[in-house]
């Protein structure tokens, strides 16, 4: 069935049809208002522009995320604009052999990747990095302090690079070029979740190949000289046995971390700071009482979710919120909408750092694909706020109107955050 036929089968006057027509999947402005207006009546609607059924309520989103038997993750990172054959050929020529091991695959394949990744990406391990992460945060604070400027862009001078540098700690490489990694990752996000032209795709492919070669080289180095880091832990879990994990899977997992470990955290940091600084009284509250910070982080993740929507595909005929969907249907779970669902969050449209159940958001997903890096992201965000409130307690947002958000289907984060430090 074509996307037009699906929509034509839904009566034009019905709220579900109207929601599908009004929905702008790449436009962040007005998105939360849109969901707030449709969620009470429309738990699911069809969006023809992306050929997806969009799920708006938390309980339905949770049910899909937890049901990996009937809902496949295989389309989670499928390019919105299909890659041209020319690009595939170029990538083959460049020996780009990345394969889906974690985020976009199902058990039993997913289980092997997760079991190996978990030996390093876990709460206990992350706790060992607290001092290093704090030192890193302080180095950015010092640079800002020493710049002598009174107005700085917090994205440019802090949150853009900071999570990438934390990722380098996990990789056991401190001296890498964070800007280069960020540029690679930005391109990869656009290649998957954005709407690039053919020329832009081909240009991005060259960087994608570089990115892969970098991940491969890192794994090769660790084979010769293992350390206490993620690639070495994966190689140790593999123990030379392809039935546990192949070398290409190890490289693919490292390649995945080079994106997953920082992109959403940069966005989450920007979103969190934006919401706090927009509300000087709330900012003041965490300045005066830093014990409020952990819950403020959770409320930021809930209210200004950085992974706004995530995809699944029905493996069999399914029913969601009373709507029958045939096998193969693509589903877009709006985490943004789920995280403001009034059934779970009273006054969900209000940003409240004292909210008692803020942590029950699903910003890190749920089920078998629940983000392994969640404890690390939380630590980074907490330390970011602890250090910024200590260093610049009187900081205020400047020029709020100049802030915009990159138009992608799944991610949301401010491109800049100009602040007056008021030292």
């Amino acid at each position: 069935m074509t996307s037009t036929t699906i929509l034509s089968k839904i009566p034009a006057g019905c709220p579900m049809h109207q929601a599908g027509e009004r929905f702008q999947p790449f436009e962040h402005k007005g998105m939360t208002d849109f969901y707030a207006s449709v969620r009470p009546e429309v738990p699911i609607f069809y969006a023809p522009s992306i050929d997806c059924w969009v799920v708006t309520r938390r309980e339905d989103a949770l049910a899909v995320l937890r049901d990996h038997e009937r809902f496949s993750a295989s389309n989670a990172t499928a390019p919105i604009v299909p890659w041209p054959e020319e690009m595939h050929q170029f990538l083959r020529d460049q020996h780009f052999t990345n394969e889906s091991v974690q985020v976009a695959c199902d058990p039993p394949r997913h289980t092997r990747g997760r079991n190996a990744a978990m030996t390093f990406l876990n709460m206990k391990k992350f706790q060992n990095y607290e001092a290093d992460v704090r030192a890193l945060a302080r180095s950015y604070i010092n640079e800002i302090s020493n710049s002598g400027k009174d107005i700085v862009d917090l994205v440019e001078s802090f949150t853009y690079e900071y999570p990438a540098k934390v990722a380098f700690l996990l990789l056991g490489e401190k001296q890498l070029d964070a800007r280069k990694l960020k540029q690679w990752a930005d391109l990869r996000i656009k290649l998957i979740f954005g709407t690039l032209t053919h020329e832009q795709q081909m240009e991005a492919a060259r960087d994608l190949a570089d990115f892969w070669h970098f991940a491969s080289a890192l794994v090769e180095q660790r084979k010769k000289k293992p350390g206490d880091d993620y690639p070495s832990a994966l190689l140790a879990a593999r123990a030379g046995d392809d039935s546990i994990l192949t070398e290409n899977e190890v490289k693919s997992l490292v390649f995945g971390l080079l994106l997953a470990a920082h992109e959403t955290t940069t966005n989450a940091a920007g979103n969190l700071l934006f919401e706090l600084l927009k509300r000087p009284i709330t900012w003041q509250a965490i300045v005066e009482d830093q014990s409020l910070i952990p819950n403020a982080v959770e409320e930021g993740l809930r209210y200004a979710t950085s992974t706004i929507a995530w995809r699944r595909r029905a493996k069999v005929d399914v029913e969601i919120a009373g709507v029958q969907l045939p096998r193969g249907s693509q589903i877009l779970l709006s985490l943004t909408s789920a995280n403001r669902d009034e059934k779970q969050f009273a006054d969900g449209e209000i940003f409240d750092i004292g909210r008692s159940n803020a942590r029950s958001h699903i910003a890190f997903g749920n089920g078998i694909h629940h983000c392994l890096g969640a404890p690390l992201a939380r630590m980074e965000l907490r330390i970011l706020l602890e250090e910024l409130t200590t260093a610049f307690p009187k900081m205020r947002l400047e020029d709020e109107e100049s802030i915009s958000f990159l138009p992608t289907l799944s991610f949301r984060g401010p491109d800049r955050l100009p602040v007056r430090l008021n030292r």
Binding site: R66, K124, G367, I368, R378
Partner: protein
């Protein structure tokens, strides 16, 4: 329905009638037992539904599966000999009378 007693880290006791077939985590969440976070919803991905069983119940259940055993090494509160992930324990009559201690913190 099997009776389960949860003991919080501050010593408060809550007795619940658990549903057969559900997991201990699901019953705890359903009855509002504090301290069982279960962030991933019961998929053995987060390690935030860690509990300590009483010795007798632990032995009745038999040793945990390899994947659970591995994840128990990474939970936040100290692992003890009767540590389990509550999402991996199905409630049935064998569990009747079990005493379950909830760690001080899951994260």
């Amino acid at each position: 329905m099997p009776k389960l007693t949860f003991i919080s880290s501050s010593g408060d006791r809550h007795e619940i009638a658990a549903s057969n077939g559900a997991s201990v985590m699901e019953c705890a969440v359903e009855h509002g037992i504090e301290g069982i976070v279960a962030e991933c919803g019961g998929s053995m991905s987060c390690g935030t539904c860690h509990i300590y069983l009483d010795q007798e119940a632990y032995e009745r259940l038999g040793i945990p599966a390899t994947a659970e055993n591995d994840l128990l090494d990474f939970v936040n509160a100290p692992r003890r000999p009767t540590s389990r992930l509550s999402c991996q324990i199905k409630v049935d009559e064998h569990l009747d009378g079990a005493v379950i201690s909830v760690p001080q913190s899951q994260y």
